[in-house]
Symmetry: C2
Subunit: 251 residues, 2 copies
DNA sequence: CGAGAGATTGACGGACGTCAAGTTATGTGG
DNA sequence: CCACATAACTTGACGTCCGTCAATCTCTCG
């Protein structure tokens, strides 16, 4: 389906006028001509939790922007062990340029809305507009930084540090993004316990135990299994196994 | 130090004529003019194992190409726990564009030779030459793929699968790159046992035990602690905890 | 030869996985 | 409205893989 648009209202496709991706996402790199051209072949989708978006070893024929919700990227071993290797929030760009086949699985972790484009359209624009590649490079570098941070978490942190780090990451990617320095936060977990364990390299039992420990220690409160309140972000951060501070100046 | 060059011999700076990075590395993206300009301000360095190249929280003022040897990228927690988050081989590009400060430590794991450029020079050329950004994007995407593969290893594999996976990765990045389908391989480990454990999220004792187990089982032979021979890559691969194969077509 | 770093091997303990039972939340149909 | 089913979650008991600590061995280099 292609969405109706009124180019005269402001030079922008109606589809894009209120779209977050046009500012913070990759579409911000496009001039009006490209945006109009792209909007003609793009389409919005509402997807419910649990639906697979990109299958492992499937051909990729489209890319998307995440407009709301959370998408989980997973990899699996042959015996069923699974690892979440990334989470994508709005307005992230979803898809792996320059590869015909995905080595990754993408699945809606929550209800998700996407704006999808044919692969060919993006790649044509990419050739004409260096600014688009520039944005993609920046996002990819950010994802690489995040992946490397999680490698530290996966390889070197204890179970309780892992769970605390996960909560901190979610808190920073949701409503508390309104105020990054907020001293408290309240949010819904976008993942089930099983998903969280796949993200942290643990079992759901261990995740559950660590959450109840955090609750017993007064670091978090939990309502309805999914809603988490953090009164003191400081206390939560202390449980994450901090990054190395600068060395003291004199040995 | 800036190396002498003879532009007349072929239009290429002498420094670059025999350089691997000019073909497979980022320099392959540059036209002769840019290459000449860059060569004027670039310099080669020989660095011995153990030297720190980029410190955590240090200002970044130069980028480099790795010409030979192996560079390890590490992150640390405040109590000293350390994780290697990436290895760079020739002809990888070393450095994090668009950030004033590194959040990562880079250290020569073996003797290394680098070709370094001032940060400003690269960034100027990047603005003029979209092809350079294109190469950087491709390398960054590859590094992201690798990082995500290691996340599976860190989060979901057993100690013996981790060690086998590590050996396989090293085998594929060294002399066996001559023949990617080779059924056997022989190479020097670029990392100490302690480094390997920091890479795999283990202790050096566990790494050592797994290596002796692989040796006892006849999968590998070890000479002089560092030199490894793999007679059957197949047998090694079987110990890596394979990736999921395609689902059987009917259910 | 001696010193020191790196590596190996063993004994032991603890953190986390496994297995299993029980609880809560949500929906479904009578 | 209640009985029931199902999925997600919690909690406990127990076992094991891997970390910790310590002794010994092997190289390399002065």
């Amino acid at each position: 389906m292609t969405v109706r648009q009124d180019i005269h209202s402001s030079g922008l496709p109606i589809l894009c006028q209120s779209c977050e991706a046009r500012h913070r996402g990759v579409c911000g790199a496009l001039d009006p001509d490209h945006l109009v051209g792209l909007a003609k072949v793009s389409s919005r989708h509402q997807i419910e939790a649990g639906v697979e978006l990109i299958g492992d070893a499937e051909a990729i024929d489209s890319y998307s922007n995440v407009l709301s919700g959370v998408v989980k990227l997973t990899k699996s071993l042959s015996d069923g062990r699974q690892q979440i290797v990334g989470l994508q929030f709005a307005p992230d760009f979803l898809g792996r340029p320059f590869k015909v086949e995905s080595e990754i699985n993408a699945e809606a972790a929550t209800a998700v809305s996407l704006c999808s484009f044919p692969k060919a359209a993006i790649e044509r624009i990419m050739k004409e507009s260096p600014e688009l590649e520039h944005r993609l490079l920046k996002q990819t570098l950010n994802e690489l930084d995040e992946a490397r941070d999680w490698m530290v978490t996966l390889g070197r942190k204890t179970a309780s540090e892992k769970v605390a780090s996960f909560l901190l990451m979610i808190a920073r990617n949701t409503d508390s993004s309104i105020d990054p320095a907020a001293r408290s936060a309240s949010f819904d977990l976008p993942l089930t316990r099983a998903d969280i364990s796949d993200f942290l390299g643990l079992t759901n039992e261990t995740v559950s135990r660590q959450l109840t420990r955090l609750r017993a220690d007064g670091v978090i409160r939990i309502e309805n299994k999914r809603h988490v309140t953090v009164d003191s972000m400081n206390r939560l951060e202390q449980r994450c196994g901090g990054r190395r501070a600068r060395q003291p100046p004199f040995e």
